[in-house]
Symmetry: C3
Subunit: 343 residues, 3 copies
């Protein structure tokens, strides 16, 4: 692909003579036919030595190289650039016969179906969907157009997935929510008869699990990105364009707004509301609602600024305790001294 | 199903004219042929407006509607009610020939075996067991009667599963425990030659992992319910009727009593004992034994009441530190003032 | 196997008459044809009553039994001993025809291939590798000699695995890293075009996920052992001979040195460096670099000694706050009293 074509796609000005670009790479590793980028100032001194054919960078850094592709958002434009060179995975084509598909399932003729796939009664697979080996698609599931489901995922009955969704390997959608009622005669299971809805343009990371609703639906909103090993409980509602980092757990019926960011290993208790645009710091334990637009961290979660100040004091607790003890002694000594003077 | 039949099954009194019930739902979503319930007072005002044919609720709330099915435990009775309308998943019947079953495995003729199932030598599958696609059942495993194993689970050799167990998709049972001995010549693996025993009526959530014992067995006791993405280490012993919420991790050889509740993301160190009836709060880090009947929370775990009081102070640490500093200054000033007077 | 053979393999002296040994067990459970060990002094009194044919123990404990196999490292030698009796799992032999293997994949004739395996174009499977049911091996993957991949693992394209690696069931290698750039026009995916490299002698626990690099590679160094449900983000570099306990999460681009131990549920933020030989305590949240050889714990992580002292004070915070309040009142009273005297 010509550098001029890339520049044109990104709406940028060609900085130098045109040349064939074969790929993308870091500043340090790029060859003379690759394009690279500078977004983190830490790497600015690599611009002088990189072999890259062109470097996406901000106007303020343009003086660093005659090969600058000046961009207002170099990282985003580099990400777009990588798309030109990223190939879809998989060498299988067509629809395998080493599958089990119920006669009343509807598989679009343009869908790609690997071997060892199971598709139950009433399921619908859209055009250009790609279903990898070992995927199980339960009764009445829907898989939208251009959606890709990587190997060994399990979609339990009634799961609805939109278009252009990417589901990484090992994901389980529509497992039973954890609904049990302790009773005098033991634990009674609340059968989970709701389902899961994944809207368009969502991405779900490897081995993540999303439970079906007890009644109604568990929802992941349009454009939301979920990382690996995340757990969403029954009836959770995730808004649009959220980013949920790995190992987050969200308990039943909690509602997450739009454009929320939950960092790694965050836990959110059940029946809570996290407002639009909130960001929650890694490992935070959220036990109360968070108003829109706020940043929270810590366990129990508190405003992020408070968390930072608190965190700095934590390792000094032994010192604070010592100082408190000394004060007590000094004050007691002072009082005694004054009392003696009185006598 | 007639409302009178439901009332009769639950041992409750029919409140109104009999009618055909087609399903169950929330107060807000129920139609005129569905049954609903009131357990959380937060939803009491929906009783007046719901279209539900009948509402399970406590005697104290009976005045809210002429269609009350009065129950001592409305939530439990509603859960029982849902069972009448919950259908088992799966449209496949019989025993697929697209499988690999060792000639010396024993599969009951009434078991359901999906395609792409592997059953190794010496394994036994009981009557009415249902084994979904992609399940691997290792050598000498046992699967009890009426047990259901959802897709893509892996049961490594010698795993014993009782009757009426439900195992959600992606579960791994009998993976090697994490047993390694550092030595002068590098890390030596301790081969894990024990196995896993899952007793009757257990439920195990999606993508949960339970390691085989180093020697002996890892056990999950009768009636215990385990959520998604839980990790049980080698030789862990879980008692009966416990509830273990998602993303809990229990390290090797720890013993959990009966009717214990571990909330989400709890971590329990190795070789500990958690007594009968304990409850451990979300994200707690347990590094010491917990006596029977106690509630613990926090990291390191402490009695729940202490945790609540401590948690309220945490965000005030910066303020406490300031107050301490001011006291020190004031006391110093006072002492100096007194010293000057002495002179 | 004769006891004399075992003693000879371990380089130890036969303590008693030779006898046939059929297995290994704990002191409490061992029969007269089994070998046992004493490493934890807690079990010393079981040495007198065990039926074991011989007991591996330290010289200082030799007086406890005439059947002592005296060892400088009884636990390590017992682990070696277990290897004599541990059998590899699996009753399938040869290469199944119920598979899908691309004609341009290279499978060594001595590799074991279970049914329902998928091997894509350009993948290479080494001699004596064992690939269990339901495993997906993507394009251009490499699996080294004597490596074992348990059921339902997914190796996405370009994953390179060395020799003698053990990968437990449900593992996902080479899933996309969580790389997204927020932009004015929504979240832009950074296509993940790097790959995963697993060096020789690594072990990876069940349902663990390791993401491919954005550019370049994610690496797990030689001899490192990883437990279940661990998450390694894109471009993470793990050194040699590390031990990473279950449910640990390491965010993108962090570098872990050699012989590092990360306890259960630890979280490590992105772009950090954890030096050689560090140990990080369970549930710690690491947000800063850790110098080589240090032990850290807590959230935010601090030196382990500080963490212990801090942890002891945590439950006493309500008491400290009360004492502080009392001091303030006493000091105020004292000042007032002095002021009145002045008048």
């Amino acid at each position: 692909m010509l550098l001029s074509e890339i520049a044109s796609h990104l709406g940028l000005t060609l900085p130098c003579a045109d040349t064939e670009i074969t790929g993308v790479n870091t500043l340090a590793a790029a060859t003379t036919s690759e394009i690279s980028f500078l977004a983190n100032p830490k790497y600015a001194d690599q611009v002088a030595t990189t072999q890259a054919a062109a470097i996406l960078l901000a106007g303020k850094d343009a003086h660093l190289t005659p090969r600058a592709l000046i961009s207002e958002q170099p990282y985003v434009d580099f990400a777009r650039c990588v798309h030109f060179f990223a190939l879809p995975q998989g060498s299988f084509t067509g629809q395998s016969s080493q599958v089990w598909i119920h006669p009343d399932a509807h598989v679009h003729p343009d869908a790609l179906i690997y071997p060892f796939v199971t598709i139950e009664r009433g399921a619908r697979i859209g055009a250009r969907a790609r279903i990898f080996s070992g995927v199980y698609i339960g009764e009445n599931c829907q898989v939208g157009e251009d959606t890709c489901i990587y190997p060994n995922c399990s979609l339990m009955a009634d799961t609805k997935i939109g278009a252009r969704v990417l589901i990484h390997a090992g994901v389980v959608l529509g497992s039973d929510g954890f609904g049990f009622a302790p009773s005098a005669s033991g634990i009674v299971k609340f059968p989970q008869i709701g389902h899961v809805v994944i809207e368009d343009d969502v991405e779900i990371g490897a081995n993540t699990t999303i439970d079906r609703a007890a009644l109604g639906q568990t929802t992941v909103g349009q454009g939301t990105k979920i990382d690996n090993l995340v757990q969403l409980g029954h009836n959770v509602q995730i808004g649009q364009h959220c980013m949920i980092v790995s190992q987050v757990g969200i308990a039943g019926s909690s509602v997450i707004g739009n454009q929320v960011i939950l960092a790694g290993q965050v836990g959110i208790a059940g029946h809570l509301h996290v407002g639009d645009g909130c960001r929650v710091g890694a490992q935070a334990g959220v036990g109360q609602d968070i108003p829109a637009g706020k940043d929270y961290s810590g366990t129990p979660a508190m405003p992020h600024g408070t968390f930072l100040r608190t965190s700095m004091i934590m390792p000094k607790l032994p010192d604070l305790k010592r100082r408190l003890h000394r004060l007590e002694k000094e004050l007691a000594a002072l009082k005694e001294q004054l009392a003696q003077k009185e006598e």
